[in-house]
């Protein structure tokens, strides 16, 4: 059989930002009708490499060939003309435009005047590719999966034959991921070359034909998916053997530490974000919170920390009501929150301040006199750097300069240092690679063994099933049920996340989220 020509071939690609080499001598190729997975830890240069195909960056050296012809890609416009389309991890859509207008933006065939018939044209085009989209729907009204579909339709409309998807499954539920994979298989069958960036091994094995692996910017190898397994891929990716099991130590549980009953919270726009939610956390357990992004997780965390007013309901900590207390009082009771937002630095740490100063942020008022006591802060910083193996040049390095995993360790380290009895942590491993993630899980498990109650708002269902004791599922601000992690499955959680499965009244004698030995009833008895 004659060897088929590559749709894309990259040879010896190098790219550095300042003194940091993001890609070193990378080789990559993909054939038409093939799905190539690009695998690597965070910061291994996957997105950088793909951005050189989509025209965002230019390589410092190396050659790119499209259909065997050497090309230079100077701008996204060039990439588009060459038939390369990229679905970025953070969607490149104009929120206030309709679906049709987002596609029309980059269309250069129709005339200068905007005509009404663009809506039907776009719908017809989408249907031709097998998608059903509402061309008049505004992007801000769309769910994440709809936006992703729109992005895919967009690149197809521009005639892309080489399609790059950057972490497309990060924001999808299990069911949506399955649907996306069907789409990818269909595009593969129609002769498109597809590159999918991911760091989820099970997905790599499920969807790809071949896997290219990057580690710290260097090209490691390309292997056939059929002839490899998770263990071997991890070794390529991390560079050594890694134990892929998350521990779930069994710890004796205490009575509920923090109980929430019928809590209602509004979001910034004044709409109900959390709708009559009840749950409780015991000491020595990790309660996971699963849900599609933006289902009230942020508002819930903020309310517990006292940063957001509570419309209705009770919040009882060790039998005492904490609704309406200022954040500082809540902190003093031993409830600590670490929320890792999407940009990872937005909440909790001051990026341009040093590790020491960030340690001091929460206790600036405890030192005597008007001056800052850096000495104890520095000692504490040194201690957590040692304990959590944080990689930093010194305690005085601005947090901004540390890598994502180390930033998150600083944040968690500070929270733990205060000796909390309840830890609220949202997305603590967001954007972290396998090694750093496991370090964070380890920190949380150690706290759990010390009898701390942990609320873990997470994204990765596999991890939550392994790490958490119980998992609460949120769907549009409502609890769909609380399940034992060892008794549930990804599919069940996925159905609950979309609201298709409601397990709130699974046990007739005990509604989900209300403890049998609740301290709230004690209170009511006392009062009554």
């Amino acid at each position: 059989m004659e060897k088929q020509q590559y749709a894309i071939e990259m040879r010896g690609i190098c790219k550095s930002f300042g003194s940091v080499a993001a890609n070193k001598n990378v080789n990559l190729n993909v054939r038409p009708g093939e799905i190539l997975a690009l695998l690597g830890e965070n910061g291994s240069g996957k997105t950088t490499l793909m951005n050189m195909l989509s025209g965002i960056y230019k390589p410092d050296s190396g050659v790119i060939l499209v259909d065997g012809q050497e090309v230079v890609i100077n701008s996204p416009e060039d990439a588009k003309r060459l038939g390369i389309g990229m679905v970025h991890q953070h969607f490149k859509l104009v929120d206030i435009f309709s679906a049709a207008d987002n596609i029309w933006l980059g269309d250069d065939k129709s005339g200068a005047i905007l005509k009404k018939d663009r809506y039907t044209t776009v719908r017809d085009m989408a249907q031709k590719f097998g998608f059903d989209i509402d061309p008049r729907k505004k992007v801000y009204n769309m769910a994440v999966s709809e936006k992703q579909t729109l992005e895919i339709v967009k690149v197809l409309c521009y005639g892309a034959r080489i399609i790059i998807l950057d972490e497309p499954t990060a924001v999808l539920t299990v069911q949506e991921t399955a649907k996306l994979f069907d789409v990818l298989r269909r595009m593969k069958a129609s002769g498109h070359a597809i590159i999918i960036i991911t760091h989820k091994l099970n997905e790599v094995l499920e969807i790809s034909d071949r896997v290219a692996i990057l580690r710290k910017g260097e090209y490691i190898t390309t292997v056939d998916t059929a002839s490899t397994d998770e263990q071997r891929l991890t070794e390529y990716m991390v560079g050594r053997k890694v134990e892929l099991n998350i521990q779930r130590p069994v710890v004796e549980k205490t009575r509920p530490l923090l109980e929430l009953r019928d809590l209602t919270i509004k979001n910034d726009e004044g709409a109900v974000a959390i709708d009559q939610v009840s749950f409780y956390i015991r000491g020595g357990e990790i309660l996971g919170v699963a849900g599609i992004a933006g289902c009230g997780q942020k508002e819930l965390c903020e309310a517990i920390a006292g940063l957001r007013p509570i419309e209705k309901g009770m919040m009882i900590h060790k039998g005492a009501n904490i609704v309406g207390l200022p954040p500082k009082a809540i902190l003093e009771k031993g409830i600590s929150m670490s929320f890792i937002p999407e940009d990872r630095l937005g909440m909790g740490l001051a990026p341009s301040m040093s590790v020491t100063d960030n340690m001091l942020l929460k206790k600036y008022d405890q030192s005597k006199g008007p001056f800052v006591d850096r000495k104890t802060g520095r000692a504490e910083a040194q201690q957590i750097i040692k304990e959590l193996e944080i990689v930093t040049p010194s305690t005085e390095t601005p947090v901004r300069r540390l890598s994502g995993g180390n930033v998150q360790k600083v944040l968690l380290g500070r929270e733990i240092k205060a000796g909390p009895n309840v830890i609220v942590t949202a997305y603590p491993v967001r954007g972290l690679d396998i090694n750093s993630s496991y370090a964070i899980y380890d920190i949380l498990n150690r706290q759990k063994k010390d009898g701390v109650g942990i609320l873990f708002v997470g994204e990765d269902l596999d991890v939550m099933i392994d790490l958490c004791d119980k998992i609460m599922v949120l769907c549009h601000g409502r609890v769909m049920g609380v399940v034992h992690a060892h008794k549930t499955s990804k599919e069940e959680l996925g159905l609950m996340m979309t609201g298709a499965l409601d397990l709130r009244n699974k046990h007739e004698d005990k509604p989900a989220g209300i403890a049998r030995d609740s301290r709230i009833e004690d209170r009511e008895e006392e009062e009554g």
């Binding site: 960056y57 701008s75 588009k80 970025h88 490149k92 929120d95 029309w104 980059g106 200068a112 905007l114």
Partner: protein, 331 residues
């Protein structure tokens, strides 16, 4: 002057005559802001368009030359702003303020430098004629509104035509769509092959040029008399920036905004005469201290800014990337 109909007619006539420069400034700024640039240099840009447009118009004895030169010199301010903020990624607020300071400084520098040799508008037949009122046949003969609406100088009609043209351009052309995308999410526009750099440059230059036309109008309205103490623009540039928000970044609404604002602005001058000829219904106008009238346009501006700040994101015409510089390779 004491005829009630006459006073009312003049009042309405002046609402339009005096305030159209605001419309130029507002529409220019809308075009600029839709590309994602917050240009606070409107005042300076208008001043530069005013003085150079006027001097060139006098020298050439031609309104068209005045218009062209005011457009081009103000457009240079836009080019300067683009160079600094688009190519060199300078802070937009600081750059805008710099242009205002620079524009006003240049205005006084040139005006005072010319001194005695300052050309009088009356000496330029071309400007006087060009600025003269045009009477619409038939329509201008209508009572009250004939004078108030249909017997203005050509720059009034040009301003309104530009506002409508920009409105149409933004909403009904593909370049307009792309421009809005650049202002909303330059990364998205860039990723589908829109030349964001070019869009920002062109619209900053054209938008600034339109502001310059407003400045030129002010020069003619002030009969071209240069005073060493007060600039012709006299704060209109700043009010235009507020009117952009009032108009919700919609050039058609900017016409309405100009009239509403102009109403209060003109009331300041006409409160006395209006109270005089309508002692019954409007006599209370005289009871209001004149200082309040002076403050009224600015009070209205403040109220408008507060009111529009509570508007919901979805209904707002404010470009999401307004004031943010775009650099493709930024991570």
């Amino acid at each position: 002057m004491n005829d009630p109909i006459n006073v009312l007619t003049l009042f309405l006539f002046n609402i339009i005559l005096v305030n159209i420069p605001l419309l130029y400034g507002t529409v220019g700024e809308i075009l600029v802001e839709k590309s994602g640039s917050l240009d606070l240099g409107v005042e300076g840009t208008m001043a530069i368009g005013a003085i150079f447009g006027y001097l060139a118009g006098c020298a050439a004895n031609s309104l068209a030359v005045g218009l062209l030169v005011s457009f081009l010199t103000a457009g240079l301010c836009g080019l300067l702003f683009s160079l600094l903020t688009v190519s060199l990624q300078a802070n937009q607020n600081v750059t805008g303020l710099t242009i205002t300071t620079f524009g006003l400084g240049l205005y006084f520098f040139v005006g005072k430098g010319i001194g005695e040799r300052w050309p009088a508008m009356t000496a330029s037949e071309g400007l006087v004629k060009g600025y003269a009122s045009l009477e619409f046949p038939l329509l201008s003969k209508l009572p009250v509104i004939g004078k108030a609406l249909f017997s203005h100088n050509i720059l009034v009609y040009l301003g309104i035509a530009i506002a409508i043209a920009v409105w149409w351009y933004l909403n009904f052309t593909k370049t307009g769509l792309r421009l809005r995308a650049v202002g909303e999410n330059p990364g998205a526009a860039d990723s589908v092959g829109v030349n964001t750099l070019l869009y920002k440059y062109v619209h900053l230059i054209v938008g600034s040029g339109i502001m310059g036309l407003g400045g030129f109008y002010m020069a003619l309205y002030m009969s071209g008399s240069f005073e060493g103490s007060n600039c012709w623009i006299n704060g209109y540039g700043w009010i235009a920036i507020a009117l952009v928000i009032f108009a919700n970044w919609n050039p058609a609404l900017a016409i309405l905004g100009t009239l509403v604002f102009g109403f209060f602005n003109t009331l300041q001058i006409y409160s006395g005469p209006l109270a005089g000829v309508f002692p019954g219904p409007l006599g209370w106008l005289n009871a209001i201290p004149p200082q309040l009238y002076k403050a009224l346009p600015f009070l209205i501006t403040a109220i408008v800014l507060v009111a529009s700040s509570v508007r919901k994101r979805e209904g707002s015409g404010q470009p999401a990337a307004l004031g943010l510089n775009y650099f493709r390779e930024e991570r």
